[in-house]
Symmetry: C2
């Protein structure tokens, strides 16, 4: 699973503008970036009104996909909020780094974006797991701080922190096993994760051209009754 870093900060402090500059800089250095935008509230809009897929969804389709040779889009109904690590494990299989906007209350590694000229004040509560700030003011003394226009410096910091061989990102060190049964996540402790990880990799290792140390996704369709003994 790729490492995840969250950009937090109030609206208008420049999170998206920063991402717009940071993604191309990382891309130029060979880092494939995925992003997640989190809305804590129920509002959700992600398609172009009037398009066929939009019409499918309006009609009540639970999951709608748009597939072309260059892109794939998928929009689906959820009954609960998504955990960013589960989203990453399931959907972000071929990127090197996931940058999240939001998930302020999660335990993800976080970078706070703040500029004094913007509306609002810095988050009153102390955010946990902060690793740096991007700001024109020293709002978190003791943490690394970058000006918002130091895109090269910010990219360097992300690469050093999350992607170099010595990175202590944590995520890539342990067995990262994600299991759902009938769409519900099954919580796994470290021992069970290790068992499943070892068994599944053993299975895959005998298949031609498979790297058993790789990122493995295994999907099994529901069995029909005929096949249950």
């Amino acid at each position: 699973m790729p490492p995840i870093v969250a950009l937090i900060g109030r609206p208008d402090h420049g999170k998206t503008t920063l991402l717009e500059k940071l993604v191309p800089e990382l891309h130029e250095r060979g880092v494939r970036v995925g992003t997640i935008k989190h809305h804590a509230h129920h509002g959700f809009a992600m398609d172009i009104p009037g398009k066929d897929t939009w019409r499918h969804r309006q009609a009540g389709a639970r999951i709608v996909a748009l597939a072309s040779p260059s892109g794939l889009g998928m929009i689906r109904t959820m009954e609960h909020d998504s955990d960013p690590r589960l989203l990453t494990a399931r959907y972000f299989t071929d990127v090197d780094l996931v940058i999240v906007e939001g998930y302020k209350t999660s335990d993800l590694a976080k970078i706070e974006v703040f500029r004094t000229a913007a509306r609002g004040t810095p988050p009153a509560e102390q955010a946990s797991h902060l690793i740096a700030t991007i700001s024109d003011a020293d709002i978190r003394p003791g943490l690394p701080r970058f000006p918002a226009d130091d895109i090269v410096g910010i990219a360097d910091f992300l690469i050093q922190t999350f992607l170099e061989p010595t990175a202590q990102g944590g995520e890539t060190k342990a067995a990262t096993v994600f299991l759902t049964v009938d769409g519900r996540e099954v919580p796994l402790n470290a021992f069970v994760s290790q068992c499943i990880d070892g068994t599944a990799r053993g299975l895959v290792s005998s298949l031609k051209g498979c790297d058993p140390a790789g990122e493995i996704v295994l999907s099994l369709g529901r069995r029909c009754r005929d096949h249950d003994r």
Copy 2:
């Protein structure tokens, strides 16, 4: 994996309009529907220009997700066309039926939509795997035919064909195993599918609250070198 049916027919013959009426009818009968719109060409548009996620994607993010408690959207770059069965196995885990617009040349079960008043002529080539037509003209003698406004009749037909216990849809009968390693799909023959299916279900069966006959998705993150012996 839910069964899949493809609506084929030229533009303006009413495929999307039909779906707009059919999805609510099926929904009312307790059938959860997913849809896939296929574009054979490279054009791809599925987000609202100016939105944060759109800006992430414009900046070059390979995968962009929008997550809220009520919905999840994901848009990603592809290097090749997507197989509708793989899409279904991977993403459509909690629907009962997938209706596809397009994939005319696939071997999916197909329903041809045609109306004489529309522009264009019926497909000249004989489409394979046709199971019915929705038309005001008898374009495929011998096949079941429904008028476009017979939504109840069309829904009955789909339920009988794909969802009743005696349905010979085929898809739900065999082990439907989908495996990717480092984002590449690994082709599996029937024997290997059965082996993997049995082993993975055996693993899951001992976990609390897991139905080993259920729809199972297992994701293993890449192992770092420290963990390879």
